[in-house]
């Protein structure tokens, strides 16, 4: 299992590339357990503008996990985004894609 520094390096590398268009600023990484006690990695991606297309978020997760697996780290990655106003109700209105 990778150290926090090693995991942060992978995550930063992936997110700075995949979330470039949203103005990726930084990521907060937290080692945690889920409701079943499984070890997981919680990541908050701080961006300047909301990531509207969730494909960008979840393909980032796929790539992060794929790279962690190469180092035999099989923890799930729970990624969420944070952008100015996202936590206080001033968020822009999203719309579902069909």
């Amino acid at each position: 299992m990778l150290t926090k520094v090693e995991v942060e390096r992978v995550i930063e590398d992936v997110l700075s590339d995949r979330l470039k268009a949203a103005g990726f600023l930084k990521s907060d990484v937290q080692f945690d357990t889920d409701f079943d006690g499984e070890k997981i990695i919680r990541v908050t991606a701080h961006v300047e503008n909301p990531v509207i297309n969730a494909d960008d978020l979840f393909t980032s997760v796929d790539e992060i996990q794929s790279r962690l697996l190469k180092s035999d780290d099989a923890r799930y990655v729970y990624l969420r985004q944070a952008y100015p106003g996202s936590e206080d109700g001033r968020a822009m209105r999203f719309g579902h894609r069909r």
């Binding site: 979840f58 697996l69 799930y76 969420r80 996202s86 936590e87 968020a91 719309g95 894609r97």
Partner: protein
């Protein structure tokens, strides 16, 4: 329309005009169940058959109904790394299952922010699309994975 797609539409409609926490929480929970039903359907279709006859019979219902939440998660935790598509479905399913717990059981202090609920519903849609796009071999592999009991060594 299938149950999974209907639930996805319901999740979107609950979420899109949600001003308060409760409808947004129900939207996230419903999105999770959309994926859960898609997995149940995949399993029953693969093992019993996806014939057009309705109802499909008690065997179909029995296999469909036998999928368990915790069991399904455990199956995804042990997916061989070579099966990328199934791992990607697992990434979204496991995240949604965790968020479904938050949505269904946490106190009234908890709320999803708008971006998160929209992203989670999109994750459900991606998971269902990924399942729909699996090759026949991958569908069979996932169905078997959702049924077999892993050997404990």
């Amino acid at each position: 329309m299938s149950m999974d797609r209907s639930l996805l539409v319901l999740a979107e409609s609950l979420n899109v005009e949600a001003k308060e926490a409760a409808p947004r929480r129900r939207a996230v929970s419903t999105a999770y169940y959309a994926v859960f039903h898609r997995l149940a359907r995949l399993r029953a279709d693969e093992f019993i058959g996806s014939g057009a006859a309705q109802p499909r019979g008690p065997e179909y219902e029995k296999v469909y109904r036998a999928l368990e939440h915790g069991g399904a998660k455990a199956k995804f935790l042990n997916v061989p790394r070579v099966i990328d598509a199934i791992r990607q479905i697992g990434n979204r399913f496991v995240l949604l299952q965790s968020k479904r717990r938050d949505a269904d059981y946490r106190s009234s202090d908890f709320a999803f922010v708008e971006a998160e609920s929209f992203n989670l519903i999109d994750a459900a849609r991606q998971a269902i699309d990924l399942i729909d796009q699996l090759s026949p071999q991958e569908r069979r592999a996932l169905a078997v994975r959702l049924v077999i009991r892993d050997r404990v060594s």
